[in-house]
Symmetry: C2
Subunit: 256 residues, 2 copies
């Protein structure tokens, strides 16, 4: 059975998509079979893996509303061992369309349960909100990885997110655990990053992963080439950090 | 009648809240009477203006669902001439609660129509999505200001946002116009910023404002002090840019 990991945080621009793309690539690079589900109508994870908007059907919208199976929606990416279910803006309509469906929170869970055995890991990139799409991801998932940008506003939303995870565990998905919180865009040139890191360590203790992802311009250059930064510039500090993150998560999975 | 400006972009972390807080402060600093409506359940604009979470009721949730009037929900900020309707996480519930209300898109419009005459400008900070809260802001507004981060993913979502603005103008709010797009977090040390700026100028022409907001660490330090960067460090490059933005928008309003 695949281990399913939701990458979530309602704060915008904290590195959810960048973490989803590069963690998935790093896991594939060590031989794991990985599926990335793009559950954000912006479709940034699909773009960052080189999928043109016209080459995404059937997509995660079709999967969630039950119009396409996982076998039909999965497609290969340029990364060996990494498949994707892409996203288009159609996904923005799902929230309203499913509002009367009593199982609207379980749509993704049901779609993955029917066919995710082919992969060892499924990663889900979530949109910046705690609406129906993110609830679907948390209901389908075994664990949650929370990217935390080293900024004041990002720290503020964390307790709200942890409460939401707890609520989903209590009502929809009893197996849901917090895999960890990972600091992103850490800039050692400015004090704020270290202040946020210290606060996060204080509040989170062992839930804060030891891998820290540094701010690194090569990361933001990579999407315009349709490649993960791990392929765009393997030796840059962010690529090294994402490879370390994959190793840390695999170690933690083995012991849990 | 107050001019109502929605600050919107579904891409996360592009500088919506930072622009809302500092543009509102710059307008108040030149003697305009300004109201900022925080329409994001994260409540970052409220935090950035020093409002403790316990001191926000009645809030924008109460305003939108009709439980409180504008007169009851408005409160003073530390900036003379700038009032706010604050936000708490309660606002996250509005989307589902209003789903059966035929006037769910007009709730904010109706609340502001009944009492916004006291201010010359109303600015609305939107969450990172194109859901009901952002639709409410676009329906209540005369114009939209779009912060555009100088990053590849941010550019990708722009055409979707412009289509949504057009759709709201055609169906819900015929007076809605695009006031302009403003580049944020421009970093002259990296080529990507200039590439994005060039692309944006090419696609947008005169819709791209000439003021560019530079990336500047003082901006991200200010919220932890509960102050706009204009009060935290008036002479830093970002404060100067936000003052210029206010002047540019006032100039454009006069000629339109
Ligand atoms: N370590 C990093 N160094 C430099 N830039 C980064 C880094 N991580 C992410 N970025 C850039 O920051 C921006 C935001 O990252 P990303 O889009 O991954 O965040 P997100 O949380 O998925 O955003 P959204 O909330 O819109 O889904 C992107 O332009 C990305 O390229
Ligand atoms: N010019 C700037 N220079 C440096 N940092 C900035 C600048 N503008 C914004 N920031 C920082 O970047 C982060 C994102 O900005 P902000 O929260 O204003 O974006 P947003 O679009 O409102 O995010 P969300 O989509 O979550 O609502 C914040 O931590 C903010 O302090
Ligand atoms: Mg994303
Ligand atoms: Mg914001």
């Amino acid at each position: 059975r695949a281990r399913i990991l939701a990458i979530a945080n309602q704060k915008g621009g904290v590195g959810k998509t960048t973490t989803a793309i590069n963690l998935a690539t790093a896991l594939a690079a060590v031989g794991r079979r990985v599926l990335l589900v793009d559950l954000d109508p912006q479709g940034n994870a699909s773009t960052g893996l080189g999928l043109a908007p016209s080459a995404r059907a059937p997509d995660s919208y079709d999967l969630v509303i039950g119009r396409a199976s996982l076998a039909a929606a999965r497609r290969r990416t340029l990364v060996p061992g990494l498949d994707i279910v892409a996203a288009t803006n159609d996904l923005a309509g799902a929230e309203v369309e499913l509002v009367d469906d009593p199982r609207r929170g379980f749509r993704l869970h049901d779609a993955l349960a029917a066919g995710a055995g082919e992969w060892q890991h499924v990663l889900i990139d979530c949109p910046p909100s705690l609406g129906l799409l993110t609830v679907n991801a948390l209901t389908a998932a075994d664990g949650v990885l929370v990217p935390l940008q080293c900024e004041f506003f990002a720290l503020e939303g964390l307790s709200q997110l942890l409460r939401t995870i707890e609520r989903v565990r209590a009502s929809l998905n009893p197996r849901l655990t917090l895999n960890g919180v990972v600091l992103t865009m850490y800039d050692r040139r400015n004090n704020l990053s270290e202040q946020v890191a210290r606060d996060a360590r204080h509040h989170l203790g062992g839930r804060l992963l030891s891998t820290v992802i540094p701010r690194n311009v090569r990361v933001s250059e990579a999407p315009s080439h349709g490649k993960p930064v791990l392929l765009y510039d393997l030796r840059c500090p962010a690529s090294v950090a994402y490879a370390q993150l994959a190793a840390e998560l695999l170690r933690r999975e083995r012991v849990s």
